[in-house]
Symmetry: D2
Subunit: 169 residues, 4 copies
């Protein structure tokens, strides 16, 4: 049985609609419920819910926490998927890349533009792709969404297009 | 072929998730899309989109507009369904009841606690019930949601329970 | 708390896709799972799974079983919904009407043309309508589907139209 | 804009429920409808519907047809996804591998155990994975489903497990 770690940090992918407040918020993790919809016959997914925040509210301490958990998981040489808000996904990814140095497994960051379970959500597509990418990509820190793959140091969120685009060098 | 009028005014039932703003808003009517999922073999649904507002923002002029359209439609003696935000649904319903006087057909107000198409939405259930109620209820102004039927002068929204309850007299 | 009895007998509404055989079959009841998607705040639904058969395979003994359970439930004067295959729904309904005599509550038969949970299924619509009908219809035996209501002695399945139509007298 | 070819041949992934016959059948292609649910911002998917058959009914002539279309598409050096019934997916894949010789792009075969749009379907997951695989895998003929990747000469369908497993050498 393969193992893949999924670390959740919040972001749009996990937002839920609050009936009492009439807004979408990061209230409780829901990745588990959607992971169960995927068929992963030879893989055990180990989910760790680190935090549940809009990524604009993530602090340096939050990122240090993500780093510490990633470092601990890396000891087992298993691929890692991190679900994350798109607004600062690149920032967290570059921080991890800088701090971790050379890797033996892929670390795949993903998220969504519309929350899981909302009409026209891209959440389950991105989760499916990230888990597949964790299996086939080379070691390194990657952003995977919308059928696209970016090395984290080449990605930039384009807010108007509602997706990531490649940074020109 | 029976005819039923559906007048849309907005409310949570029609809210959509805006990717650019990360919030739920009344931006475009989506009732049509969901009506097409229902089988209504002997009924023609005539949809009129009157406005698309959070019902807390509805003004006296908005309610006069709803009244005017309802009065025009009543000439044909066809039942009427009105989709509406739950916060002031009772207010609009009582206003219609007061202004219209005795009726020959049912007028059914409905809405939702969670937008159509979001996970765990009650929107399609309520729309299904309202269209059924428009067929079988007696003339009068009714609120129909969650398998419940209230004469409009007996209903009150209970915000904590996220539903309507009967007013004690 | 209101009570409504739901008696399940099988039919298309409950069929599931068998991966090993590549066909749709009545293998296990799934009504419960879909009932949980409906908001029924003041109602307790009591489900009794009587059998799970294609209604073309229902025998006289099966119908006697349905009758016996209905008679037992009627003692409590609670409305009854029966999910049933459409092919012999009218036959079962007329048998119940004949054997039961005058009623104090509505008995509502419903089913589906496409199984619950399959794309374009009418199952949840029909279940929603039947539960609403059980609340508002007069005593008697009814068929409720597709926003339509038929007294059981006026209904006939039109196989080509894939729905019920009214019997001409 | 990248281009990826999707060739459809039928199989469970495309089956629909026939209300008139009460069975699942290959009647009309529905891949398009589901492809539109995926976000593929930098990719143009060109769909060619070759046939729509249960793969147990595919003939030698059918496979020659698939081969001819694949050969024609390969001229453009674009990756190819083929949707196919799982029962003879390996047979078709090995035939292509044998006839085509060395490749410059990946050819990815995928399908489903439960039709697209049915509850618990694996169809959209597999389609998502196949399109991602077409982007990142090396040239060769692959089977991609359920987060797994098999070189076509290493795969075998395990009917009981309802998935592919690796052939022992």
């Amino acid at each position: 049985m393969r193992i893949v770690h999924v670390l959740t940090t919040g972001g749009t992918i996990e937002k839920i609609y609050s009936e009492t407040r009439g807004s979408v918020e990061n209230l409780e993790s829901k990745i588990d419920r959607y992971l169960r919809r995927l068929r992963l016959p030879d893989t055990r997914v180990e989910v760790s819910q680190l935090m549940n925040k809009d990524s604009l509210e993530m602090t340096d301490a939050d990122r240090q926490c993500v780093l510490a958990v990633v470092q601990a998981k890396l000891a087992g040489r298993r691929p890692i998927v991190i679900t994350h808000g798109t607004d600062t996904m690149v920032e967290t990814g570059r921080y991890l890349q800088r701090e971790l140095g050379p890797l033996e497994v892929p670390i795949v960051l993903t998220g969504a533009m519309t929350p899981l379970g909302f009409e026209e959500s891209d959440g389950l597509q991105n989760l499916t792709e990230a888990l597949f990418a964790a299996r086939v990509l080379a070691p390194g820190v990657w952003i995977v969404m919308h059928n696209q793959v970016f090395p984290v140091d080449r990605a930039r969120k384009d807010r108007e297009l509602a997706r990531f685009v490649e940074v020109e060098r």
